[in-house]
């Protein structure tokens, strides 16, 4: 069976390694083949961008050589997919090669789209790419006090990042001794400070305690850089000295161009993870349209379920389990404390009081991630 994985990020890498282990015998005998196509020879640990933006990590710490993360039996090519010929079970790449498959998995991720909000790209700081996170840190270092507004678009990957950046900025300004001259104003698109009700219930009093003001039902419409005002779809506006944003995301352009999903989100079965209408095309990670968090942990749990299923398809012709919607997210609540939220389609999360131990565990995970990508954790 020819297995083609398109995308070498969190989802694609964890899946490829999971499969290579489960199918080691079949890979050796030639009964199975795993090919991965990606857009880069580097693998970025994206959660590290949050730390980069506040000067607690450097860019080199975010990367590993993609090939070094993959099991030896995986055939890896840096050659992005350009044309998906789903009816012919083949993919044409930018390099002009054509790869056939029996089973394909798409895990091409998502991207922030600041250009969709007038004035946003030119007038705000962001941290969802290496370049923007370094630029944000430079602006923070120059900042001497004033009003910092945090605003975000929907959907965005990493649902915890809005809260985390608010708490981390608070501690950053405190450490620099300019907290008394700085006002942090947090905005959020729905009627509470976080999408998870239990997290919102915990975070709002935490904001009150730290003196972070907040405004809900705020969806960015436009940014007036001359007047330093951000306006919302809801008809309100707020002024800022420094605007920090997480723009709304789309899936990759290649998905849209191939007509595989509006705005790059591929219609995906929430339990079986196959692309709607296709039995041999599966989708994991940010690019699904499943209504759960676009997070690395989602990609991870989906990859584990799918790895088990594809291996079973090779060995006995059918899948063996369903994905239950599991997500697990750490929540950094400042420089030295953290908590977490764990939930699935049926069970809501119940975050506990933040502790130092969980923060240390998150710091450890920042390193352990590489073992996780290799499929060892």
């Amino acid at each position: 069976m020819k297995i083609l994985i398109v995308g070498g990020g969190m989802g694609g890498t964890i899946l490829a390694n999971n499969l290579a282990r489960r199918l080691s015998t079949e890979l050796r005998s030639g009964k199975a083949r795993i090919t991965m196509l990606s857009a880069s020879d580097k693998h970025m640990y994206q959660p590290g961008l949050l730390y980069l933006a506040v000067g607690r990590m450097t860019p080199d710490e975010l990367y590993r050589d993609q090939r070094s993360l993959l099991e030896p039996g995986i055939d890896f090519h840096v050659d992005p997919a350009e044309e998906f010929r789903l009816d012919k079970n083949e993919v044409r790449t930018k390099g002009g090669k054509v790869y056939g498959y029996d089973v394909m998995v798409v895990a091409t991720g998502s991207r922030a789209m600041p250009e969709e909000i007038p004035g946003l790209a030119e007038n705000s700081e962001m941290f969802y790419t290496e370049e923007s996170a370094v630029k944000m840190f430079r602006s923070l270092q120059k900042f001497q006090g004033g009003k910092v507004v945090i605003a975000m678009g929907v959907p965005h990957k990493c649902p915890m990042a809005p809260l985390e950046i608010a708490f981390m900025l608070h501690d950053y300004f405190r450490n620099r001794g300019i907290l008394d001259k700085t006002k942090i104003h947090y905005t959020y698109p729905i009627g509470r400070v976080h999408s998870l009700e239990n997290v919102a219930k915990w975070a709002a009093p935490e904001f009150d305690r730290l003196g972070i003001s907040y405004e809900t039902l705020f969806n960015m419409k436009e940014v007036d850089g001359a007047k330093k005002i951000v306006r919302s779809e809801e008809g309100t506006e707020t002024d800022y000295d420094l605007l920090i944003t997480i723009p709304a995301h789309r899936g990759m352009e290649v998905i849209e161009k191939n007509g595989m999903g509006n705005r790059g989100w591929i219609p995906t079965h929430r339990h079986k993870l196959n692309m709607e209408g296709r039995e041999n095309v599966f989708v994991i990670g940010d690019t699904t349209n499943i209504p759960i968090s676009k997070a690395g942990s989602t990609a991870h749990f989906e990859a584990e379920a799918l790895g088990e299923n594809i291996a079973a398809m090779v060995k006995m012709g059918m899948p063996v389990r369903e994905y239950d919607g599991k997500v697990f997210c750490f929540i950094e609540t400042g420089n030295d404390r953290a908590t977490y939220a764990s939930f699935d389609y049926l069970n809501p999360p119940d975050p506990k009081v933040p502790t130092r131990a969980i923060h240390w565990f998150k710091l450890a995970y920042n390193k352990l991630y590489w073992a996780s990508a290799r499929g060892l954790l």
Binding site: V154, P189, N219, G235, A248, S293, D344
Partner: protein, 76 residues
């Protein structure tokens, strides 16, 4: 005729039905109808509240076997 699109946000704790709707609105055309399916009772209030604020149209809300169906129309 306007398109009707189903936004299946059942079992969505995060980002949740309203966030799913806000995202789906971006992909919809003016005049399209969106039917949000939600297992969260709060959706029956917070979706119409947001729709009113941003001046789209709330057409109806019904409940069937613990699933809320909120029908809205993109007005602008």
């Amino acid at each position: 005729m306007a398109n009707r699109k189903i936004v299946d946000a059942r079992g969505s704790f995060c980002p949740g039905p309203l966030m799913e709707l806000i995202a789906a609105m971006k992909a919809a055309q003016i005049g399209d109808e969106l039917e949000i399916l939600s297992t969260d009772k709060g959706s029956a209030n917070d979706i119409p509240e947001w729709i009113r604020k941003v001046k789209h149209e709330h057409l109806e809300t019904t409940e069937e076997n613990g699933v809320w169906h909120v029908l809205v129309k993109k007005a602008k």
